[in-house]
Symmetry: D3
Subunit: 106 residues, 6 copies
Amino acid sequence: MNERILEAENLEIRRFFALDSRAYEEGALPVNTKELLGLVASLVLRCDDCITYHLVRCVEEGYTDAELLEACSVGLIVGGSIVIPHLRRAIATLDELRAETSPDVS
Amino acid sequence: MNERILEAENLEIRRFFALDSRAYEEGALPVNTKELLGLVASLVLRCDDCITYHLVRCVEEGYTDAELLEACSVGLIVGGSIVIPHLRRAIATLDELRAETSPDVS
Amino acid sequence: MNERILEAENLEIRRFFALDSRAYEEGALPVNTKELLGLVASLVLRCDDCITYHLVRCVEEGYTDAELLEACSVGLIVGGSIVIPHLRRAIATLDELRAETSPDVS
Amino acid sequence: MNERILEAENLEIRRFFALDSRAYEEGALPVNTKELLGLVASLVLRCDDCITYHLVRCVEEGYTDAELLEACSVGLIVGGSIVIPHLRRAIATLDELRAETSPDVS
Amino acid sequence: MNERILEAENLEIRRFFALDSRAYEEGALPVNTKELLGLVASLVLRCDDCITYHLVRCVEEGYTDAELLEACSVGLIVGGSIVIPHLRRAIATLDELRAETSPDVS
Amino acid sequence: MNERILEAENLEIRRFFALDSRAYEEGALPVNTKELLGLVASLVLRCDDCITYHLVRCVEEGYTDAELLEACSVGLIVGGSIVIPHLRRAIATLDELRAETSPDVS
């Protein structure tokens, strides 16, 4: 779908997407901190797709469940109970991500 | 799903959930008024899951359709036309809740 | 200022203002419940002017501080810590409203 | 579903729906400009149903893809990356609308 | 103040500001339509500084009061009564802008 | 003012304040990371008082301007141009905080 958007004949949209990618690259702050910022910003703004995206990236960056839940607790307290349905889905997504990557123990 | 969250090893999230439950208990205001506040707050913040939750509780508390629609009209006017898709789903949910609880007339 | 808006040559704005006034009149729900709904909706949407307006009306409707703080606690828990600066100003406004209306005890 | 809402015994909701329809009729501004305003307002407030509604109307009003993408780029830059999932769905909807109305070339 | 921000040693912020300026330049849509989109987006997101900025630009682009009020009425109906304090300030700003630019009739 | 709120006879509000303080204490994540999360969450939700509070704390935690601007750039790109007035005030606040704490060079 990103490809479809990038094909679109609109230069500002393409530039915004480039800028959005650049924002999470290594800089004064490390990549993993930036992804955690993206996760909590997505949680308080209540965007499931954005939460899932940053959760996948945070797992790739090596955060533990305890760290991710703690970041989510900050988002929950800042954003209030209206965040709860998104938090539930975030935890379900996290469980799936861990299941996919866990070693086969059979 | 709440159980999964409550199992989660994060004390702040568990405390927030406890506080969220406590907020709707009898106090200076009666329970039914507090649930109506929860419904309208959920409507203007446009959270379908939250609206459904408070709508179920408001029906349990004995509100009539006329009272619930009037509360929703306050939410609609405060929150604007952007609330309309959520209002539609709320009315569909209310119809289902009434159908479930209506006496068998066959 | 409302007069300036109502003078404005725009029929939809005038009609919206009429509808907004009508929404808080007696109906299936009593006036005081509707004002409390307006207060909590304004709090979670974080609009100081709207909070002040409904707080004045709620005091006129005879709510006690305990009742108003409890309604605000619902708004705080739904809306999260981002609501705190508005809650602070609401409590300061409530203190002023009580000071204005309290009997002279000198 | 609008019919179900309009049947509802609540005068304020019916009046709001009438006002909402009136807002997009010809006035000082032409209908097509008003629909474009509705589209961008819906995009920055991140309401998929509202975006789809105004996108359908904008296509009916004869806007080209280049014009609609440019309006969306304003919404994206005002509203930020949190708008991206809604922009993706808007572009997919636009593709479907164009496919439905394009001449059969087989 | 923009200068202070542009001096800041952060490339993403500077790029975002460049993109934000570019978004309102002539393209598939004329400049005046884009400024009106910016005005209504700012109104429904309830940002006074943004509203003032786009109002100044809309007056420069030659819109009449009737046209600007009609655009604002779309924003009011989409965004609801929570928009009213911002609409009041917008109308006061518009009055000031017209007073500044009106010919001396003494 | 917090004292006034904590004196208030409402247990839920006092508990929320306690939970809000606890959320930024050392845990699975270090304090400085949590404060940065609070800053970006406040920026995307556009709350000046909250931004100032977390900016003060972030400076106390030893972040450099380059790090804070980079965190702000994530907030700007997630939240869009509507965040700009708050970003401006944040940078002005940061300049003041640095001026207060810089050694006297006269």
